[in-house]
Amino acid sequence: MEPMPLREAIARHVHDGQSVALEGFTHLIPFAAGHEIIRQRRRDLQLLRMTPDVIFDQMIGMGCVRQLTFSWGGNPGVGSLHRLRDAVEHQWPAPLALIEHTHGEMAVAYQAGASGLPCGLMRRGAQTDLAQASAAGVRHVPCPFSGIALTAVPAINPDVTILHAQQVDAAGNVLIRGIVGAAKEAAMAARCVIVTVEEQVERLEADINSIVLPAWIIAAVSIVPGGAYPSYAHGYYPRDNRFYQEWDVIARDRQGFESWMQRHVLEVPDHAGHLQLLGVSA
């Protein structure tokens, strides 16, 4: 499988109205792919991500998103995602339907999806309001052997899962190193997998128990150095914690957000242009 330009990968595989997971837990968040979806003005997406991060704040604020499935929606270590809040609190720029989970539930939902199961199980937790309030639709069931209270969580099977990873080899196999979150489960649960990577290498010089997605699981690979910035790619560049703090200011009001997105995402041709404009590419 030959790598293809990210523009082509998104144009070919991501369509209006689809359910699209962009995973990566704090690490390896596919920012470049999210920006390309914004540039191609996709609409009515049903986004999924355990921890909607700045990239989802941007996609929501730019009007790409109809529905969000998630378990924690903040700017990690900083505070709120203002565009997410504005969408939920004031329906700006459009109403946003929430399918809200706990981390444990969403992990089980991805695992079930990856396993070809219609649902997964967890121990029933101390009673809360989430099961009733959320549209996630978990159900309480007894263990058929012991009667112990369990929670059944419906499987998640995204139309498309998009990941960022470190390397692809000549055969198209992809190496993910470091904190992996639910990336593997989100990929195995998806009907279509798109991966952006830092670089292509002849052979992955990876340890025997490394996390490698085989080429035949993947629909498209694009080589996008810095594609996880401002999150990070272990072994390539660290998380730009400063940018996450700055985002709190940028996203606080609608106009400031829109003009930032106009200038830094819409008016640059691609991720290299984005990084150059931000002055972070060396």
């Binding site: 837990f25 929606g73 990690p76 270590g77 981390h103 121990r123 989430l130 639910a182 998380r239 972070v280």
Partner: protein, 272 residues
């Protein structure tokens, strides 16, 4: 700076750190919990096992992470496991001694709200949501809560129950079959609260030096019960304060260093 000058945040963090015994396995959240756990590890509890929900098990960061998944957590961890594994094999599997939580609101039974202020469907303030807190609150052998005390946060009635503490008290949690013992300790910027053995209502059991019962009651949105043997805590020790300040100083340096992304010269040629 004199050794006896310290902030409320510092007293809170140091008090929280002191709750942790060496070798305990802690499931750590970002912010004050992360500061308290790492301070404990750097002082009296060198073999404290820290697990962050990013899957970093037994991590020993030199500075505090901003996010729950900063690279240093992975580099200094004994094991980095997929997120489903940390929630199933470690947390739900009953391997975690202490869960550390904060929230926007807490009620008298240690139930927590981190979801919304106002109605769920039309919230006044949409908060980040549950994350792993409900599972931590359920499965950790015991839970430590660390929150600043004010009538807005210590409320008579939660707008939304995100994580279960003692539920309606009086053994309701045990009756529901929850594996963990619940919120045994709540550390605030005024003192410490613990559940009453029977009613499980949180009572003030300790005050920081210089804080008063009146302040504690005024900062609580329900009629606060006070333990008969209320303890007045000593101010932080100089060594703890120094360790905490050095930790914060290292953290400030680490977070301020600019990020540069090495883009290969031939990147354009190869396929963006």
């Amino acid at each position: 700076m004199s050794e006896i000058t310290y902030t409320a945040d510092e007293m809170m963090t140091i008090t929280a750190a002191r709750q942790l015994r060496n070798r305990a396995v802690c499931f750590v959240g970002i912010g004050l919990p992360s500061a308290a756990c790492n301070l404990a590890r750097l002082t009296h509890a060198p073999d404290l096992v820290l697990i962050y929900e990013s899957g970093t098990v037994g991590t020993r960061p030199d500075s505090l992470p901003l996010s729950i998944g900063d690279g240093e957590l992975a580099e200094t961890a004994v094991a980095v496991v997929p997120l489903p594994e940390v929630f199933s094999y470690y947390l739900q599997g009953g391997r975690v001694d202490v869960g550390f939580l904060g929230a926007a609101q807490i009620d008298r039974f240690g139930n927590l709200n981190s979801t919304v202020i106002g109605e769920y469907e039309r919230p006044t303030v949409r908060l980040p949501g549950a994350g792993g807190a409900p599972e931590i609150a359920t499965h950790a052998r015991e839970v430590l809560i660390i929150m600043k005390q004010s009538p807005r946060s210590f409320v008579a009635s939660l707008d939304f129950r995100t994580s279960g503490g003692y539920l309606e008290g009086h053994g309701a949690r045990r009756a529901q079959g929850c594996p963990g013992a619940g919120p045994r300790t709540v550390i605030t910027d005024i003192g410490i609260l613990r559940p009453h053995p029977q009613t499980e209502e949180l009572r003030l059991v300790a005050l920081y030096p210089g804080k008063t019962l009146q302040e504690a009651k005024a900062a609580t949105g329900w009629p606060l019960q006070v333990d008969d043997d209320i303890e007045i805590l000593a101010p932080p020790e100089a060594a703890d304060l120094r360790a905490l300040r050095e930790l914060h100083a290292r953290t400030a340096v680490a977070h301020a260093s600019p990020v540069r992304i090495p883009i290969p010269l031939n990147a354009n040629a190869r396929g963006r």
